[in-house]
């Protein structure tokens, strides 16, 4: 009797383990040949991409020593929330002291925080946090509308295709990343100023009404986009979306 019970229990556990098996990732860690004291971002932070898609630019990190010189052969290990894919997730810095990784974001729209760490000589770890943003359908639509209608005033940067109009404006609009200002505005406020123009909030009429040009859902999409890219993030402090 006992034996059968044991067998049964064994079978059941084996089955359930088998069914719920999840792909485990083993990070093969290279041996560091040198140690730095700090890790800094060279490029690739604050990018945006659709959910589940790779970022256009790789993330490039650099390990420095006390004097701020780049260190070759230092170990860099990356961690991110579930769903993010880092290729590679660990390695040593190259001859210019840099470590390059390609990032694909997870399937949940939101901010993805990547923690990069390196071990120092004394065995401590130096850390750096970088954020990348995954757009869902709404944010993606909003970002397209922003490109078409808003960016030329609300973005100070020019490209050959799009010369910024920011400098020409007497009253300066805020870039949508400026969370310090935009996070204080409620959704209703944003809807009001976008639909009815600056005067709706006693602001400058240089901000035109878009309520007859964009549909309600398009305006919602633009707001979703503004909320997603704002820095510091919109929402209760401490909440990092898309993290377990």
């Amino acid at each position: 009797m006992k034996r059968t019970a044991c067998l049964l229990i064994f079978l059941v556990t084996a089955l359930s383990v088998g069914c719920s098996r999840q792909p485990k990732t083993f990070v093969l860690v290279a041996k560091p040949t040198a140690y730095g004291t700090a890790i800094v971002e060279s490029s690739g932070g604050k990018q945006t991409a659709g959910v589940g898609t790779p970022l256009l630019q790789p993330v490039v990190l650099q390990v420095n020593d006390e004097q701020g010189n780049a260190v070759t052969g230092a170990l860099v290990i990356l961690h991110g929330p579930s769903g993010i894919y880092l290729d590679p997730a660990a390695g040593t810095t190259d001859s210019s002291g840099q470590f390059t990784t390609n990032v694909s974001l997870g399937v949940i729209p939101g901010r993805y925080q990547i923690t990069a760490s390196t071990t120092t000589k004394t065995g401590k770890t130096a850390e750096l946090k970088i954020e990348e943003i995954a757009f869902g359908y709404q944010e993606m639509l909003g970002s397209q509308l922003n490109d078409q209608y808003c960016a030329r005033c609300h973005n100070q940067e020019s490209s050959p295709e799009r010369v910024s109009n920011y400098d020409n404006l007497e009253v300066k609009p805020h870039p949508f990343t400026e969370g310090d200002t935009l996070n204080k505005m409620s959704d209703a406020d944003l809807t009001a100023i976008i639909s009815h123009g600056g005067p709706a909030l006693n602001k400058s009429p240089l901000m035109a009404p878009y309520g007859y040009t964009l549909s309600k859902s398009e305006i919602q999409a633009v707001i979703a986009y503004i909320r997603m890219v704002s820095d510091p993030p919109y929402g209760a402090p401490g909440i990092v979306y898309a993290q377990k």
């Binding site: 659709g50 898609t53 694909s104 020409n168 035109a208 040009t213 859902s217």
Partner: protein, 690 residues
């Protein structure tokens, strides 16, 4: 027969008499019967439903959430689409907006999309097996079901099943569809839309019937070996040809070429030769290249290695190493002589100007490109072999070649590629056995699938491959069987041809390369379908004589074609009479004579209520707005009726324009029109000078 002792004892004990036997057998049956309910009890979905109830118990709106929650297997059934989706059994919170902060699956709220769950279900967009109630069956590919959940990066492909037109929220799908037509995929592969129409290429590969007049065999060889070595932007893929194969194909192409009737003007050739060693001429040539706005369509790599210019025509960075000067001078004079359907306009250059441009372009060469190419005279065997290869590789699917018929259906049709069962695919070693990985690998490394394959190697980056994947996956069985009421058909292809003498001019100048008219043409420049309602005749004449840009921030501009007065008249008359909007009566409002009061009122509205100066310049000293066209001469450019209607509803006149619709009153619109029509510029010549 007696059993050994201990066993016999056991038998005695349990099955000693009928009652005991019956009892034990009943118990066994009971246990067996209990397996099914137990399995049910331990089913994935029950566990998830218990988890959900546990999750909502502690929330402030627990009561409402509990009321929304329906235990048991849930199902969305949409017979007309063949949808039986039980996903909501475990994904209980898809519609719960208050659970926005929950990030654990399967309890996430569905992000906002334009469609309702109850109308489309889940598997229409996400694929997977809708009827399954276990995690693995629903999401992964199993023996019984091989269509796994669609990876998120390909989700836009699902929009493309019904929407055959570009959507603002699906940039990847839009790009992928554009690439299908731009990179020649559809020349070899037939791809049909659900409505039965076939997707056609937009890349216009050149004819090779007179190739020997245009370029050398050495260049063809180098190009065949690696098109991107000549121009990084080249859309022709790499066929990974062996040296002998490239040698023989180039031999065949040269031998099959017939002479084109090119107009050879010695004066132009002489002028071209002088440019090389004359700095002054070079400057002159460079400024002619600039003034003619060649860069609106053609890119050239600058010293820093950046491409500058448009991508309508081919890149010209190394054109001097490719073409023969005799061909180039004829091409610059009138490209239609060599290639009648070309998109390049016929500029009316003088022979001297043709020479300058020819010399300037011949100077754009790269001595390394052909340095290592040494070809001996071709033998008849090589030519014959080259011809075989041209047939084998389907070159004539894209290019017109003398003596070769265009092959029909050269490559597999891709109309249903997005739902091809994985068991019908031959996977390359190392490629995971899913349709997604298969197509991805086919695009990235077509030759890895085995020897003798002909699909060429493209040089796409990850984003481009993903975009193409989205476009390809949208062509599937479901798209073909979608109820018509749910689909949005592709825009019909317009074959509009303008008539008469003006029509010939429009074709000769290739206006369609940049402007759209009646649904046909490019999007680099404004749609001019209603130009006749919009502009004043005198302005249009001036503009043809000397086109200047209306937008300060615009780099691309309309070139000057050096038209004769007679040609300008023909074009202008045609535009003014034919290209009219049925909604606007051009003569319903006067061009001038508005009262000073009206003008003043309009001015106030312009600068305060509507703050038009944010985007437009009227007073060139004070206004700075950069987005819309400069309006300092608008009163001598546009018709009052157009301006008035534009104020009322700009999108009705030009769909997609950035100008926001203001919903203004008739009075405001009239006053603004009066003010704008009073902006005639300081004198008529002002426009010409700038």
């Amino acid at each position: 027969m007696r059993l050994p002792d201990p066993l016999e004892k056991l038998r005695q004990r349990f099955f000693g008499d009928t009652v005991r036997t019956f009892g034990w057998i009943s118990l066994l049956l009971l246990i067996l019967l209990a397996i099914a309910p137990a399995k049910n009890h331990f089913a994935d979905w029950r566990r998830y439903q218990r988890g959900y109830e546990h999750l909502i118990r502690t929330r402030s709106d627990a009561v409402t959430l509990q009321r929304h929650f329906e235990p048991g297997v849930q199902q969305i059934w949409l017979p007309e689409m063949g949808v039986v989706d039980r996903c909501t059994t475990c994904h209980s919170a898809l519609k719960e907006t208050t659970l926005m902060d929950v990030t654990i699956q399967p309890y996430r709220h569905h992000p906002d999309i334009p469609h309702k769950l109850d109308e489309f279900g889940c598997s229409v967009c996400h694929r997977g097996q809708g009827t399954a109630t276990s995690v693995e069956d629903a999401h992964q590919s199993t023996l019984a079901w091989e269509e796994p959940i669609l990876p998120a990066k390909y989700l836009e492909s699902s929009c493309g099943q019904c929407h055959q037109q570009d959507l603002k929220g699906t940039p990847q799908l839009n790009l992928g569809r554009k690439m299908l037509t731009q990179y020649g995929c559809v020349h070899c592969h037939t791809v049909k839309r659900p409505d039965g129409s076939t997707i056609t290429g937009t890349d216009d590969p050149p004819t090779l019937t007179h190739i020997a007049d245009k370029t050398s065999r050495e260049w063809i060889y180098a190009w065949l070996k690696d098109p991107q070595a000549y121009a990084t932007t080249a859309t022709m893929p790499n066929f990974k040809l062996k040296d002998e194969d490239a040698r023989d194909i180039s031999a065949f192409l040269i031998s099959s070429s017939t002479p084109a009737s090119l107009k050879l003007v010695q004066a132009s050739l002489d002028a071209a030769k002088k440019v090389k060693d004359d700095a002054a001429l070079q400057t002159k040539a460079a400024s002619l290249y600039g003034e003619s706005f060649c860069a609106s369509c053609h890119a050239v790599q600058n010293a820093a290695g950046n491409l500058v210019g448009g991508n309508v025509g081919p890149e010209l960075t190394k054109v001097g190493s490719k073409v023969k000067p005799e061909w180039l001078q004829a091409w610059v004079r009138n490209p239609h002589d060599y290639d009648p359907p070309t998109g390049m306009p016929h500029y009316r250059f003088s022979d001297q100007e043709v020479g300058l441009l020819t010399g300037f372009l011949m100077g754009k060469s790269d001595s390394d490109l052909l340095a290592n190419v040494h070809l001996d005279a071709a033998t008849p065997e090589q030519i014959a072999h080259g011809k075989r290869l041209v047939n084998d590789y389907g070159c004539a699917s894209c290019h017109e070649i003398n003596g070769i018929k265009r092959p029909e259906n050269f490559a597999p049709e891709l109309t249903k590629i997005g739902s091809k069962p994985a068991n019908q695919l031959a996977f390359a070693p190392g490629v995971p056995h899913t349709l997604y990985d298969y197509i991805n690998a086919k695009i990235r490394q077509p030759r890895a699938f085995g020897p003798g394959l002909k699909m060429p190697q493209y040089t796409f980056n990850t984003a481009q491959v993903d975009a193409l994947m989205n476009a390809l996956l949208s062509h599937n069985e479901r798209a073909l069987t979608m109820p018509a009421a749910k689909t949005v058909a592709a825009l019909p292809v317009s074959h509009y041809e303008p008539a008469g003498k003006a029509g010939q001019l429009i074709t000769d100048l290739n206006c369609f390369s940049c402007h759209a008219i009646n649904g046909r043409g490019g999007d680099m420049a404004p749609d001019i379908t209603w130009e006749g309602s919009s502009v004043q005749r005198d302005w249009l004449v001036q503009f043809f004589r000397n086109p200047n840009t209306l937008r300060p921030a615009l780099i691309r501009r309309m070139p000057k074609f050096n038209l004769t007065d007679a040609e300008i008249n023909t074009l202008t008359d045609y535009i003014m009479t034919v290209y009219q909007s049925p909604k606007i009566d051009r003569d319903s409002m006067p061009l001038s004579g508005y009262s000073a009061g009206q003008v003043e009122l309009g001015k106030q509205l312009y600068y305060s209520k509507y703050s038009c100066q944010a985007c437009h310049i009227i007073d060139t000293k004070q206004d700075k707005g950069y987005i819309g066209p400069t309006l300092s001469h608008v009163g001598s450019r546009l018709t009052a009726a157009w301006v008035y209607n534009w104020m009322k509803d700009p999108q009705a006149l030009r769909p997609g324009t950035q100008e926001p619709k203001r919903n203004m009153s008739d009075d405001d619109a009239r006053a603004l029109t009066a003010f704008l029509m009073s902006q005639k510029g300081r004198d008529g010549q002002e426009a010409k000078k700038r």
